[in-house]
């Protein structure tokens, strides 16, 4: 049936005078947002914030249903996309996982099964410790501690062979240290383990540790960005996000490692639907609900759509592939 619809569509387009923009397309039934994470996870919150921004401002008037397909570290979502080719009523929310997951795992989907729509915002990564239990106050102290006893410094993060562990291998590579990575189910879980003094450090997004920072059981050492974060509102200890040094200036030579929050359609998403959603999410990124989400998470406002997003994906995937190759994580080609 979709084939049929496409033929009809092609006919319509063929008849239309050249130069005329695509026929206006608008959803007329509920749209499903599939989040590649479990309830409460970062991607789930992202999808639900977009949902609330769209429906509160009446940018999208048909109902929006958020569902979670977190299986296989989110791969379930993109495999689901593959089985819904061309369906403009299902959108898929994720991070770089959409194109990074197939690098290490043998999965039945690839980038060709998805249509990139937008990267709405970027989450920076921060290196945290518990200053009281670890005695580490800054990056220098962190590196010294790591060199003192190779393999003894335990660093936690979410899941294995994904962003957090990748970042840890970058830290090891840049500082010439040997750390032990401990994977947890989520970044917040790792943060609590650091707060409780069970492990030494963790890397995650600001929002996952900010409450622990306020409570004095976690301290940010540096942010993995090329520039400092913009927000100068004081959070804790008289410090703001802006006061956290970049890792580069503090002595860990790792450049920007931000995580994009991405939205995808299935392959063969009709061009008029793509145009509609590109416009829609551009508007959503400016909505007050989304702005306050950005501020809470100290995120980097950077909206990518169309070719700019495609270029970014290409570069980002390549840089991940390189790191994965170095770590020996690339899946053996069949």
């Amino acid at each position: 049936m979709p084939k049929h619809a496409l033929t009809a569509l092609a006919l319509c387009l063929g008849l239309a005078a050249p130069g005329v923009a695509f026929a206006e397309w608008k959803p007329n039934r509920p749209v499903e947002f599939v989040a590649a994470a479990g309830p409460g996870g970062g991607t789930d919150t992202f999808a639900r914030v977009v949902q609330s921004a769209l429906s509160k401002n009446e940018l999208l008037t048909t109902p929006i249903i958020v569902s979670n397909k977190a299986g296989g570290s989110g791969a379930e979502t993109f495999i689901y996309a593959k089985s819904n080719k061309g369906d403009p009523y299902k959108l898929y929310f994720g991070t770089q996982d959409a194109y990074v997951l197939p690098l290490a795992n043998k999965l039945s989907y690839g980038l060709k099964d998805l249509t990139p729509i937008a990267a709405m915002v970027f989450d920076p990564f921060i290196l945290w410790v518990n200053p009281k239990t670890s005695g580490i106050e800054d990056v220098k102290g962190f590196i010294a501690k790591a060199k003192e006893a190779p393999g003894q410094l335990k660093l936690g993060g979410a899941k294995a062979k994904e962003a957090d562990e990748t970042l840890m291998t970058l830290i090891e590579h840049a500082t010439g240290t040997d750390l032990t990575y401990i994977p947890y189910k989520s970044g917040s879980e790792a943060a609590i383990q650091v707060a409780g003094g069970h492990i030494t450090a963790n890397v995650n997004n600001p929002s996952e540790s900010v409450e622990q920072w306020k409570a004095g059981v976690q301290k940010p050492l540096c942010v993995f960005e090329s520039e400092r974060l913009a927000d100068t509102t004081v959070i804790a200890d008289g410090q703001s996000w802006h006061d956290i040094p970049t890792c580069k200036e503090a002595g860990i030579d790792v450049d920007s490692f931000a995580q994009p929050r991405t939205i995808w359609g299935a392959a063969d998403l009709p061009p008029e639907a793509l145009a509609y959603y590109t416009d829609l999410f551009t508007k959503a990124a400016a909505a007050p609900e989304f702005k306050s989400y950005q501020e809470r998470g100290a995120q980097i406002p950077r909206l990518l759509t169309g070719d700019a997003f495609k270029d970014f994906i290409k570069k980002h995937e390549a840089s991940y592939a390189e790191i994965y190759k170095r770590n020996g994580w690339l899946r053996a080609e069949q």
Partner: protein, 511 residues
């Protein structure tokens, strides 16, 4: 103390007509969601979440938590009536609830379950009220080793539970562990036992297994036994409900024991599922009527229900205080908190006391309202069982299949559930216990993660499980529970074995 004053302020926030109406609505919606297997509390709450975007956070959380209570009660209903647990934590309720309902005492079974659940929940809220400031710090002391110790205690207390052969318990548990490993492994990031099937990459949903093993398996068995369903004899008498409510206080020992287990497991990361299983197992061992467990013994309903609900309430505390959700539903609610602009964490208690204490106050009232409402539904549910099996049987099949499909909208899951149905039938025919399978499936991967995280932290030294007082005590208790069957065997010595498969039958594996 200080908490009490704040609680009173909380009541002032929560006790408005508007909020009371929200509670009633939430509980009713929750009941509907809880009764339909496959839908369950987490899905229900996440469906309702968009509705709350325009509400103020306090009304929103009251609506969601009320729905949670309703769904928890609804989950017990299907456990008792159809042997299909709606939630992982109500599996243990099927062990005695379903047999009692089958004997024509569905109304009594339901009333017992609801009343003890209400008592459990209120105990949990009381603990939250009194200990909230202390609990948050206590939970921080739980590292991977402590997590594992909590799960270990649950497994250990369970080993001595089933009456059959220890070998069969072990086989069933190991199969459960195997089922829990399907999917992508947290520690290595590799997929395991997926046979390159896309459908298996997310692991096997617990609900699918339970719908098959319990719901469909039981149906097959009932059909073979000649379509006998004793529910027909059920008398519809309001006095039955009143009598059953009055019956509950008689089980005070079980109530206290179960509530304590529940609160402990709710505050620590064990959660409601581990709590209900452990409470059932310990009830069986320590209750005077323990040997009747599994045959429709009232205490066998009271024990898991009390523990389940007290743990369910207590589990909200780590969510608020640490931002670590104790259950799937709590995770959805936490997502809600962030969307409403609140950050769960240690500072929430000082930055938004009105929210926290309003919520706690609403938990008192929400549970009372829930108990009253569900008790009112008892005659209705008992009535369902009066229909002949030729009507109820196909109805259950339909509910099971729809439930299996709803979990993830996969046809594959329906086949999987049917497969589990056959497994469940074979298990029962060969007298293999299902409970260890379910427990291992629910807690298996968590226990595995915790164990491997602990070993990574300690560089492979098992000494980490005895490295401090807290974890050593828990491991010690676990080992003691594990060896109880062996100890009682030694004590009994030459005495003749009891004539039937009573709970006291010694069994266990040599560690």
């Amino acid at each position: 103390m200080g908490n009490f004053g704040q609680l009173m302020d909380g009541f002032a926030v929560a006790l408005t007509t508007h909020h009371l109406m929200i509670m009633v609505m939430g509980v009713l919606l929750g009941l509907v969601v809880g009764v339909l297997p496959g839908l369950g509390a987490p899905n229900g709450v996440s469906l309702l979440l968009p509705l709350t975007f325009t509400m103020d956070p306090i009304s929103a959380i009251i609506l969601l938590t009320s729905m949670y209570w309703g769904a928890l009660f609804g989950g017990s209903t299907t456990s008792i009536l159809f042997n299909i647990p709606g939630e992982p934590s109500s599996v243990a309720t099927t062990f005695d609830g379903y047999p009692l309902a089958k004997q024509g005492q569905a109304a009594r079974a339901l009333t017992l379950a609801f009343t003890s659940a209400g008592i459990g929940a209120l105990t949990g809220v009381l603990v939250i009220t009194l200990l909230s400031s202390w609990v948050a710090n206590f939970a921080l002391r739980f590292g991977a080793a402590e997590y594992f110790a909590v799960y270990f205690m649950a497994f250990a207390s369970f080993i001595g539970m089933s009456g059959g052969s220890p070998f069969k318990t072990l086989v069933s548990m190991m199969l459960g562990f195997a089922a829990a490993t399907v999917g992508i492994d947290t520690i290595s990031g590799e997929s395991r036992l997926t046979f390159e099937l896309d459908e298996l990459i997310g692991g096997i949903s617990f609900l699918i297994a339970v719908i098959g093993l319990f719901g469909l398996g039981e149906l097959l068995l009932t059909m073979e036994e000649g379509l006998k369903f004793e529910g027909v004899k059920a008398r519809l008498d309001i006095r039955v409900i009143a009598r059953a409510v009055a019956e509950v206080p008689r089980y005070w020992a079980t109530l206290i024991r179960s509530a304590l287990i529940g609160c402990w497991m709710g505050i620590t990361p064990g959660g409601p599922t581990a709590a209900s299983f452990m409470s059932y197992a310990l009830g069986r061992r320590f209750s005077r009527r323990g040997r009747f467990f599994g045959k429709g013994e009232p205490e066998g309903i009271v024990a898991p229900e009390t523990a389940d609900h007290s743990a369910g309430s207590c589990a909200l505390l780590p969510m608020l205080a640490l931002g670590i959700p104790g259950s799937a539903t709590a995770a959805v609610m936490m997502g809600g908190l962030m969307i409403w602009g609140l950050s769960p964490g240690p500072m929430l208690f000082s930055t938004r006391p009105d929210f926290v204490w309003g919520l706690i106050a609403s938990m008192y009232m929400g549970n009372v309202i829930a108990v009253v409402l569900v008790l009112a539904t008892v005659p209705l549910f008992a009535f369902i069982l009066r229909a002949p099996f030729t009507v109820v049987g196909p109805l259950i099949t339909v509910v099971c299949v729809i439930g299996a499909y709803t979990v993830a909208n996969h046809m594959f899951d329906v086949w999987l559930a049917l497969g589990f149905g056959i497994v469940g039938y074979v298990f029962k025919k060969l007298d293999y216990p299902l409970a260890p399978f379910v427990l291992a499936m629910v807690l298996g991967d968590k226990a595995e993660d915790a164990f491997r995280q602990a070993m990574l932290t300690s560089d492979g030294s098992p000494a980490i499980f005895f490295s401090n007082g807290l974890v050593a005590t828990m491991m010690g208790l676990g080992l003691l529970l594990l060896s109880l069957p062996v100890l009682s065997l030694l004590l009994k010595g030459g005495r003749a074995a009891p004539k039937n498969d009573a709970a006291a039958t010694p069994e266990g594996r040599s560690a």
